[in-house]
Protein backbone atom coordinates (compact mmCIF):
# COMPACT_ATOMS: atom_id res chain seq x y z
CA UNK A 1 0.00 0.00 0.00
CA UNK A 2 2.83 2.35 0.88
CA UNK A 3 4.52 1.69 -2.48
CA UNK A 4 1.24 2.21 -4.32
CA UNK A 5 0.79 5.59 -2.64
CA UNK A 6 4.41 6.43 -3.35
CA UNK A 7 3.93 5.56 -7.01
CA UNK A 8 0.78 7.67 -7.30
CA UNK A 9 2.53 10.54 -5.55
CA UNK A 10 5.49 10.31 -7.92
CA UNK A 11 3.17 10.28 -10.94
CA UNK A 12 1.20 13.30 -9.71
CA UNK A 13 4.40 15.16 -8.89
CA UNK A 14 5.84 14.57 -12.34
CA UNK A 15 2.62 15.35 -14.16
CA UNK A 16 2.53 18.71 -12.42
CA UNK A 17 6.04 19.49 -13.55
CA UNK A 18 6.29 17.87 -16.97
CA UNK A 19 4.52 15.40 -19.42
CA UNK A 20 5.11 12.01 -21.69
CA UNK A 21 6.47 10.24 -24.94
CA UNK A 22 5.15 8.95 -28.22
CA UNK A 23 1.59 7.51 -28.32
CA UNK A 24 1.19 8.75 -31.92
CA UNK A 25 3.28 9.04 -35.07
CA UNK A 26 3.85 11.93 -37.44
CA UNK A 27 1.13 13.74 -39.38
CA UNK A 28 -0.57 11.33 -41.81
CA UNK A 29 0.87 8.17 -40.26
CA UNK A 30 -0.60 5.13 -38.54
CA UNK A 31 0.84 3.87 -35.28
CA UNK A 32 0.30 0.28 -34.11
CA UNK A 33 1.13 -0.59 -30.51
CA UNK A 34 0.96 -3.73 -28.40
CA UNK A 35 1.62 -4.32 -24.70
CA UNK A 36 1.29 -7.88 -23.45
CA UNK A 37 1.80 -9.79 -20.22
CA UNK A 38 -0.22 -12.35 -18.28
CA UNK A 39 -2.71 -9.89 -16.74
CA UNK A 40 -2.70 -6.92 -19.15
CA UNK A 41 -2.93 -7.23 -22.93
CA UNK A 42 -3.50 -4.09 -24.92
CA UNK A 43 -3.34 -3.37 -28.62
CA UNK A 44 -4.21 -0.21 -30.47
CA UNK A 45 -3.93 1.55 -33.77
CA UNK A 46 -4.32 5.27 -34.36
CA UNK A 47 -4.00 7.68 -37.25
CA UNK A 48 -2.46 11.14 -36.89
CA UNK A 49 -4.81 13.61 -38.58
CA UNK A 50 -2.59 16.57 -37.66
CA UNK A 51 0.92 16.79 -36.16
CA UNK A 52 -0.76 16.93 -32.72
CA UNK A 53 -3.99 14.88 -32.96
CA UNK A 54 -4.67 11.19 -33.57
CA UNK A 55 -7.81 9.07 -33.56
CA UNK A 56 -7.84 5.32 -33.14
CA UNK A 57 -9.32 2.14 -31.76
CA UNK A 58 -8.04 0.02 -28.90
CA UNK A 59 -8.72 -3.37 -27.32
CA UNK A 60 -7.60 -4.26 -23.79
CA UNK A 61 -7.83 -7.41 -21.70
CA UNK A 62 -7.31 -6.99 -17.95
CA UNK A 63 -7.23 -9.62 -15.22
CA UNK A 64 -6.70 -9.45 -11.48
CA UNK A 65 -3.69 -11.14 -9.87
CA UNK A 66 -5.90 -13.83 -8.32
CA UNK A 67 -7.74 -14.31 -11.65
CA UNK A 68 -11.10 -13.63 -9.97
CA UNK A 69 -11.81 -10.55 -12.14
CA UNK A 70 -11.57 -10.27 -15.90
CA UNK A 71 -12.28 -7.26 -18.10
CA UNK A 72 -12.29 -6.65 -21.82
CA UNK A 73 -12.52 -3.14 -23.21
CA UNK A 74 -12.99 -2.00 -26.80
CA UNK A 75 -12.79 1.75 -27.24
CA UNK A 76 -12.42 4.66 -29.59
CA UNK A 77 -9.41 6.74 -28.65
CA UNK A 78 -8.18 10.29 -29.07
CA UNK A 79 -4.57 11.36 -28.50
CA UNK A 80 -3.41 14.96 -28.28
CA UNK A 81 0.10 16.35 -27.93
CA UNK A 82 -0.59 19.10 -25.40
CA UNK A 83 2.90 20.54 -25.32
CA UNK A 84 6.38 19.74 -26.57
CA UNK A 85 9.64 21.17 -25.34
CA UNK A 86 12.42 20.91 -27.94
CA UNK A 87 15.78 21.55 -26.34
CA UNK A 88 19.23 21.29 -27.99
CA UNK A 89 19.95 17.82 -26.59
CA UNK A 90 16.61 16.68 -25.26
CA UNK A 91 12.88 16.61 -25.77
CA UNK A 92 9.95 16.57 -23.36
CA UNK A 93 6.27 16.01 -24.13
CA UNK A 94 2.95 16.30 -22.39
CA UNK A 95 0.18 14.14 -23.84
CA UNK A 96 -3.51 13.62 -23.36
CA UNK A 97 -4.77 10.15 -24.29
CA UNK A 98 -8.36 9.18 -23.72
CA UNK A 99 -11.13 6.95 -24.94
CA UNK A 100 -14.67 5.78 -24.57
CA UNK A 101 -15.84 2.25 -25.11
CA UNK A 102 -17.62 -0.92 -24.08
CA UNK A 103 -16.46 -2.84 -21.03
CA UNK A 104 -17.38 -6.45 -20.45
CA UNK A 105 -16.56 -7.76 -16.99
CA UNK A 106 -16.77 -10.90 -14.95
CA UNK A 107 -16.28 -11.21 -11.18
CA UNK A 108 -15.95 -14.62 -9.58
CA UNK A 109 -18.22 -14.83 -6.53
CA UNK A 110 -18.82 -17.61 -4.01
CA UNK A 111 -22.14 -18.23 -5.72
CA UNK A 112 -20.85 -18.12 -9.31
CA UNK A 113 -19.95 -15.39 -11.81
CA UNK A 114 -21.29 -11.84 -11.93
CA UNK A 115 -21.07 -10.74 -15.56
CA UNK A 116 -21.74 -7.19 -16.64
CA UNK A 117 -21.53 -4.74 -19.55
CA UNK A 118 -20.80 -1.06 -18.97
CA UNK A 119 -19.59 2.06 -20.72
CA UNK A 120 -16.05 2.96 -19.72
CA UNK A 121 -14.15 6.23 -20.15
CA UNK A 122 -10.36 6.40 -20.02
CA UNK A 123 -8.94 9.94 -19.93
CA UNK A 124 -5.25 10.07 -19.10
CA UNK A 125 -2.14 12.17 -19.12
CA UNK A 126 1.45 11.28 -19.87
CA UNK A 127 4.78 13.06 -19.59
CA UNK A 128 8.13 12.06 -21.02
CA UNK A 129 11.64 13.43 -21.07
CA UNK A 130 14.33 11.97 -23.30
CA UNK A 131 17.88 12.54 -24.45
CA UNK A 132 19.93 10.20 -26.62
CA UNK A 133 21.13 8.54 -23.39
CA UNK A 134 18.39 8.77 -20.73
CA UNK A 135 14.63 8.42 -20.69
CA UNK A 136 11.85 9.11 -18.21
CA UNK A 137 8.09 8.68 -18.56
CA UNK A 138 5.14 8.84 -16.22
CA UNK A 139 1.51 8.06 -17.00
CA UNK A 140 -1.75 8.29 -15.13
CA UNK A 141 -4.89 7.05 -16.85
CA UNK A 142 -8.38 6.79 -15.46
CA UNK A 143 -10.29 3.58 -16.26
CA UNK A 144 -13.75 4.38 -14.98
CA UNK A 145 -17.26 2.96 -15.34
CA UNK A 146 -20.13 2.96 -12.87
CA UNK A 147 -18.86 1.20 -9.71
CA UNK A 148 -15.58 0.41 -11.48
CA UNK A 149 -12.20 2.06 -10.91
CA UNK A 150 -9.19 0.47 -12.61
CA UNK A 151 -6.99 3.56 -12.80
CA UNK A 152 -3.57 2.87 -14.25
CA UNK A 153 -0.36 4.53 -13.04
CA UNK A 154 3.15 3.91 -14.28
CA UNK A 155 6.63 5.36 -14.00
CA UNK A 156 9.45 4.38 -16.35
CA UNK A 157 13.10 5.31 -16.44
CA UNK A 158 15.96 4.04 -18.55
CA UNK A 159 19.30 4.60 -20.17
CA UNK A 160 20.85 3.65 -23.49
CA UNK A 161 23.99 1.52 -23.48
CA UNK A 162 25.58 3.83 -26.04
CA UNK A 163 24.67 6.55 -28.52
CA UNK A 164 23.95 5.29 -31.98
CA UNK A 165 23.50 6.66 -35.48
CA UNK A 166 20.06 7.37 -36.91
CA UNK A 167 19.99 4.21 -39.06
CA UNK A 168 21.42 1.87 -36.40
CA UNK A 169 19.59 -0.05 -33.67
CA UNK A 170 20.04 1.36 -30.17
CA UNK A 171 19.67 -0.88 -27.08
CA UNK A 172 18.23 0.56 -23.84
CA UNK A 173 17.63 -0.69 -20.31
CA UNK A 174 14.22 0.38 -19.01
CA UNK A 175 12.73 -0.15 -15.56
CA UNK A 176 8.99 0.23 -15.12
CA UNK A 177 6.79 0.32 -12.00
CA UNK A 178 3.02 0.25 -12.52
CA UNK A 179 -0.24 -0.45 -10.76
CA UNK A 180 -3.78 -1.22 -11.94
CA UNK A 181 -6.24 -0.18 -9.27
CA UNK A 182 -8.83 -2.78 -8.27
CA UNK A 183 -7.02 -5.51 -10.17
CA UNK A 184 -3.75 -5.70 -8.25
CA UNK A 185 -2.62 -4.55 -4.83
CA UNK A 186 0.98 -4.79 -5.93
CA UNK A 187 3.22 -2.40 -7.79
CA UNK A 188 4.44 -4.47 -10.72
CA UNK A 189 8.14 -3.86 -11.36
CA UNK A 190 9.53 -4.93 -14.73
CA UNK A 191 13.06 -4.48 -16.03
CA UNK A 192 13.12 -4.54 -19.83
CA UNK A 193 15.50 -4.45 -22.75
CA UNK A 194 14.38 -1.96 -25.39
CA UNK A 195 15.58 -1.89 -28.98
CA UNK A 196 14.92 1.27 -30.98
CA UNK A 197 15.45 1.60 -34.67
CA UNK A 198 14.06 4.19 -37.05
CA UNK A 199 11.56 1.55 -38.24
CA UNK A 200 10.63 -0.31 -35.04
CA UNK A 201 10.46 -0.14 -31.28
CA UNK A 202 10.37 -3.34 -29.18
CA UNK A 203 10.69 -4.04 -25.46
CA UNK A 204 10.89 -7.37 -23.67
CA UNK A 205 11.35 -8.19 -20.01
CA UNK A 206 10.21 -10.18 -17.03
CA UNK A 207 8.55 -8.78 -13.93
CA UNK A 208 9.55 -9.58 -10.36
CA UNK A 209 7.00 -12.45 -10.35
CA UNK A 210 8.87 -13.93 -13.35
CA UNK A 211 6.02 -13.18 -15.77
CA UNK A 212 7.18 -12.17 -19.25
CA UNK A 213 6.27 -8.85 -20.87
CA UNK A 214 6.47 -7.76 -24.48
CA UNK A 215 5.75 -4.35 -26.05
CA UNK A 216 6.10 -3.05 -29.58
CA UNK A 217 5.34 0.05 -31.64
CA UNK A 218 5.38 0.46 -35.37
CA UNK A 219 4.69 3.55 -37.49
CA UNK A 220 3.77 3.47 -41.16
Amino acid sequence: MFFKQLLLFAVCLQVNNYATAGPMGFDGSFMVMGDFNNNWRESFINYAVTPRDAFGVSATYMRSDDKSKTRTLEEFTYTRLLHRWNLPNSQANLWFAGGIGALQGGDKLATGYDNFDKVMITPGIQFDYETTRVYFQTTYKFYRASDINHDYASVRAGFSFYESDYDKTQPWFVLEARNMNGLSDKVEVTPMLRLINKSFFVEAGMNTDYKPRFNFMYIF
Binding site: Q91, T132, E163, I196, K198
Partner: protein, 112 residues
Protein backbone atom coordinates in the same frame (compact mmCIF):
# COMPACT_ATOMS: atom_id res chain seq x y z
CA UNK B 1 37.71 31.41 -82.82
CA UNK B 2 38.04 33.68 -79.84
CA UNK B 3 34.24 34.11 -79.77
CA UNK B 4 33.70 30.36 -79.99
CA UNK B 5 36.07 29.76 -77.08
CA UNK B 6 34.29 32.40 -74.99
CA UNK B 7 30.88 30.93 -75.82
CA UNK B 8 32.10 27.46 -74.78
CA UNK B 9 33.35 28.78 -71.45
CA UNK B 10 30.03 30.55 -70.79
CA UNK B 11 28.06 27.43 -71.73
CA UNK B 12 30.12 25.28 -69.35
CA UNK B 13 29.75 27.81 -66.53
CA UNK B 14 25.99 28.10 -67.06
CA UNK B 15 25.49 24.34 -67.19
CA UNK B 16 27.64 23.84 -64.09
CA UNK B 17 25.66 26.49 -62.25
CA UNK B 18 22.36 24.98 -63.36
CA UNK B 19 23.28 21.46 -62.29
CA UNK B 20 25.41 22.25 -59.25
CA UNK B 21 24.73 20.14 -56.16
CA UNK B 22 22.57 21.90 -53.61
CA UNK B 23 22.02 20.55 -50.12
CA UNK B 24 19.98 22.23 -47.42
CA UNK B 25 21.33 21.67 -43.91
CA UNK B 26 19.04 22.29 -40.95
CA UNK B 27 20.07 22.30 -37.32
CA UNK B 28 17.24 20.84 -35.27
CA UNK B 29 16.41 20.93 -31.57
CA UNK B 30 14.67 18.01 -29.83
CA UNK B 31 15.75 15.32 -32.28
CA UNK B 32 16.92 12.59 -29.89
CA UNK B 33 15.22 9.38 -31.04
CA UNK B 34 15.47 7.63 -34.43
CA UNK B 35 12.01 6.05 -34.09
CA UNK B 36 10.44 9.45 -33.46
CA UNK B 37 12.47 11.32 -36.10
CA UNK B 38 11.58 8.93 -38.94
CA UNK B 39 8.73 11.28 -39.91
CA UNK B 40 11.25 13.92 -41.00
CA UNK B 41 13.02 11.53 -43.34
CA UNK B 42 9.79 10.11 -44.79
CA UNK B 43 8.27 13.54 -45.45
CA UNK B 44 11.50 14.88 -47.00
CA UNK B 45 11.84 11.85 -49.26
CA UNK B 46 8.22 12.29 -50.35
CA UNK B 47 9.12 15.61 -52.02
CA UNK B 48 9.62 15.09 -55.75
CA UNK B 49 12.64 17.44 -55.70
CA UNK B 50 14.54 15.41 -53.08
CA UNK B 51 17.53 13.38 -54.18
CA UNK B 52 18.78 12.21 -50.79
CA UNK B 53 18.24 12.78 -47.07
CA UNK B 54 20.58 12.32 -44.12
CA UNK B 55 19.68 12.59 -40.43
CA UNK B 56 22.33 12.84 -37.73
CA UNK B 57 20.93 12.61 -34.20
CA UNK B 58 24.20 13.25 -32.37
CA UNK B 59 24.85 16.52 -34.15
CA UNK B 60 21.16 17.35 -34.62
CA UNK B 61 21.45 17.84 -38.38
CA UNK B 62 19.03 17.12 -41.21
CA UNK B 63 20.57 17.40 -44.70
CA UNK B 64 18.42 17.35 -47.83
CA UNK B 65 20.07 17.09 -51.24
CA UNK B 66 18.03 18.59 -54.06
CA UNK B 67 17.76 16.97 -57.51
CA UNK B 68 19.69 18.67 -60.29
CA UNK B 69 17.88 21.68 -61.73
CA UNK B 70 15.26 21.75 -58.95
CA UNK B 71 14.81 23.70 -55.72
CA UNK B 72 13.35 23.28 -52.26
CA UNK B 73 12.71 26.41 -50.25
CA UNK B 74 14.00 26.90 -46.73
CA UNK B 75 10.38 27.44 -45.65
CA UNK B 76 9.37 24.01 -46.96
CA UNK B 77 12.18 22.33 -45.03
CA UNK B 78 11.29 24.30 -41.89
CA UNK B 79 7.59 23.45 -42.23
CA UNK B 80 8.22 19.70 -42.65
CA UNK B 81 10.53 19.56 -39.64
CA UNK B 82 8.13 21.66 -37.52
CA UNK B 83 5.17 19.47 -38.50
CA UNK B 84 7.19 16.41 -37.49
CA UNK B 85 7.40 18.02 -34.04
CA UNK B 86 10.88 19.54 -33.95
CA UNK B 87 12.35 23.06 -33.89
CA UNK B 88 14.69 24.34 -36.59
CA UNK B 89 17.35 26.62 -35.12
CA UNK B 90 19.20 27.46 -38.36
CA UNK B 91 19.35 26.61 -42.06
CA UNK B 92 22.38 26.77 -44.32
CA UNK B 93 23.00 25.88 -47.96
CA UNK B 94 25.87 23.70 -49.09
CA UNK B 95 27.22 22.68 -52.49
CA UNK B 96 28.28 19.31 -51.10
CA UNK B 97 26.34 16.11 -51.67
CA UNK B 98 24.62 14.39 -48.74
CA UNK B 99 27.13 11.53 -48.96
CA UNK B 100 30.00 14.01 -48.44
CA UNK B 101 28.24 15.74 -45.53
CA UNK B 102 27.54 12.35 -43.95
CA UNK B 103 31.19 11.32 -44.25
CA UNK B 104 32.35 14.65 -42.75
CA UNK B 105 29.95 14.50 -39.78
CA UNK B 106 30.78 10.88 -39.05
CA UNK B 107 34.51 11.62 -39.23
CA UNK B 108 33.98 14.51 -36.82
CA UNK B 109 32.15 12.16 -34.40
CA UNK B 110 34.90 9.56 -34.57
CA UNK B 111 37.54 12.23 -33.89
CA UNK B 112 35.79 13.23 -30.64
Amino acid sequence: MKKLFLASIITVLISNAAFATETIKANVNGMVCAFCAQGIEKKMRALSQTKDVYVNLKQRVVAVEVKEGQTISDETVKEIISNAGYSVTSITKSDQAVATIKAQLEAKQEAK
